[in-house]
Amino acid sequence: MKIRATAAIMECLLEQEVDTIFGYPGGTILNLYDELYRYQDRIRHVLTAHEQGAAHAADGYARSTGRVGVCFATSGPGATNLTTGIATAHLDSSPVVFITCNVGESLLGKDSFQEVDTTGIAMPITKATYLVRDPQTIPDVMRQAFAVAATGRPGPVLIDFLKNVTAPDVMIDYEFVPWNQNRACSSIQALASSHALKAPEPDQGDIDTLVDMIAQSERPLLICGGGVVRGKADQVFRKFAEKLDAPVAITVMGGGGFPGSHPLTTGMIGMHGSQASNVACAECDLLIAVGCRFSDRVALDPATFASQAKVVQIDIDRAEIDKNVLTDHHIIGSAKRVLTLLNEKMPQYDHTAWKEHILPMRAPSVAEDSPKLTPQQVLEVIRLQAPHDTIVATDVGQHQMWSIKYLHFDYPGQLLTSGGFGTMGFGLGAAIGAQMGNPDKRVVHVTGDGCFRMNCHELCTVEHYGLPIITVIFNNGTLGMVRQWQSLIYGKRYSETTLDRGPDFVKLAEAYGLKGFRVTDRAEMETAFAQALACGSGAVIDCVLDIDEMVRPMVAAGSPITDFLLKEGSK
């Protein structure tokens, strides 16, 4: 059947059951938006204020729904505005297909208006890029792009269509093939023969070796990494942890992979890891890391990391094995498959003595009374008042660490945070994407005053689409995490981190047509949050906090994991 090339692009989106896309139109992508106009009853387009917001929204949609996110942008500045969002998705293995258009073939390479080498720029921050110059390849490229984004270790893919490829008079051969049948398509078969498009099957011998290692261990520690979340392996992971009867430390990306309220949880590990997690890491005799790449924020000092332990890495990506920390044993495969096999072969263990040594080190999780509002109080109010399945999107810095420390995440996709790339300004876009993908759930956006200023213009998107997102600003008038380093390491020389400036966030919220609140103590926070939950529209709560609040505990970059620069709870 012959159809318009642009219609084929839309049909290919429908093949993948895409019903929501985020984006921003422009000159070269006009043809695609013209086609989208005809498809508006089947594909909902969310128009953001800025392409970066659209990229984060598609990413947040993908993380919170487990489906592939889709984002449109035009050439030149449209494409370059995406790049921070693409890199954010790449570092956190989030499946997003970015679709851009470029100038036509006759203008290509001539420094034409809004021309840039989009695929060249996106290359190091994507799993794959495609430059489409031949319209007949559209179905192949679209199907391959979605397959690459979603399978194995997920990640972003970029497709750049030349404008002439999308011209309204270009017709191509096209047959609708649902995504679960299109693996038979020639291009995907060719790809599958050279790259395992499905996760590699774990080696039985490797499984047996680990079962033996576990049998010999007296002090095992589990690390729940982002792979548990992306692989939706939370149920089997929980069963594994309970059978192993071992403490479970959770990385930033692992939030939601293991219930934060579970009795075996020791909380975060690494730079701001809890004393329980970090001491367990230093003292364990067997460390099993699942879907964790031992980033420099977890394995601060690879040489001394888990030095008493045999280190075992379970990962879907072979390239992660031995990249940062040398392991004693590894298993390649999806977290779900590997843990299922382990659960079948492993007996129930009892490590009471080890648990009784580690678990009491956990800090009490109740906020102390204080006349001034504290970060822990703000988060406690959110935890007590918001529904248990509330999705939390954060930005980056102190509020991010506090949120992960004091809120509980119980399922994959409940915590949306830029762990790898550390993108300030990620949260609001991600919250918009999450709310679009999860209309029945509550979405709370926790941010700092520095981060919020970066992309707060997306409040117009919140208002326009009637999204009941509650933004909670940890407003300490400073770039808190950088100030914390300046306080502890740079002799209190606060170089350019004091944010003593506008806008008035309450008035800003009101200007965007949203509810605004300012709170200075716990009682005000309780009232404001209750009103925000009930108001039915988006809301912004400006929480006034002390400038010198610090994230505790803290281990300096590159130091052994128990060399605490700041101890838990100490003032």
């Binding site: 290359m123 790259h195 072979r318």
Partner: protein, 161 residues
């Protein structure tokens, strides 16, 4: 230790860029790199020599394997590979030195590609070591220009990667 990595890739614009950008992003050093199309016109073979530790080579191989455009990656066994490099070298030559140069050429198996009253241009295809030896032998005659292709290599025997 130098190691030879043979990579089969899709013969498309931008693939070489993707491979070399992977090397620079991961801070892997390339000693030499040679690219050419294979018997299958849709595929190119890239031969890369790296001089890093074993763990680096292992990382290179794993990272290359993740690229969609990469069909196969193999680190060749140094004891059973045929590696060749082509060098074209231009040296000053006159009536008195021409014969000395020809003697070294016949010892090393180099051919004369061009000659002029004041110079000779020679070509040699051999292992990188022997190509370097030949270059050293030419040094006393005043080298004017050198071009080397970088090594291309295949495994010995009937197998293929």
């Amino acid at each position: 230790m130098k190691q030879t990595i043979s990579v089969l890739v899709e013969n498309q614009a931008g693939v070489l860029n993707r491979i070399t950008s992977l090397f620079s992003r991961r801070a892997f050093n390339i000693d030499s790199l040679a690219v050419g199309v294979t018997d299958d016109p849709t595929l190119s073979r890239i031969t890369i020599i790296v001089d890093n530790g074993n763990s680096v080579v292992e990382q290179v191989e794993k990272q290359l394997n993740k690229l969609v455009e990469v069909i196969k990656v193999r680190t060749l066994d140094e004891n059973s590979l045929i590696g060749r490099e082509l060098m074209i070298i231009k040296v000053s030559a006159n009536k008195s030195s021409r014969e000395h140069i020809m003697t070294i050429c016949s010892i090393c198996g180099a051919k004369v590609a061009d000659i002029s009253p004041t110079s000779m241009t020679l070509e040699l295809s051999d292992t990188p070591d022997r190509v370097s030896t030949f270059e050293d032998m030419m040094r006393p005659f005043n080298i004017l220009e050198v071009a080397r292709t970088g090594v291309i290599a295949l495994q010995k025997g009937g197998g293929k990667i």
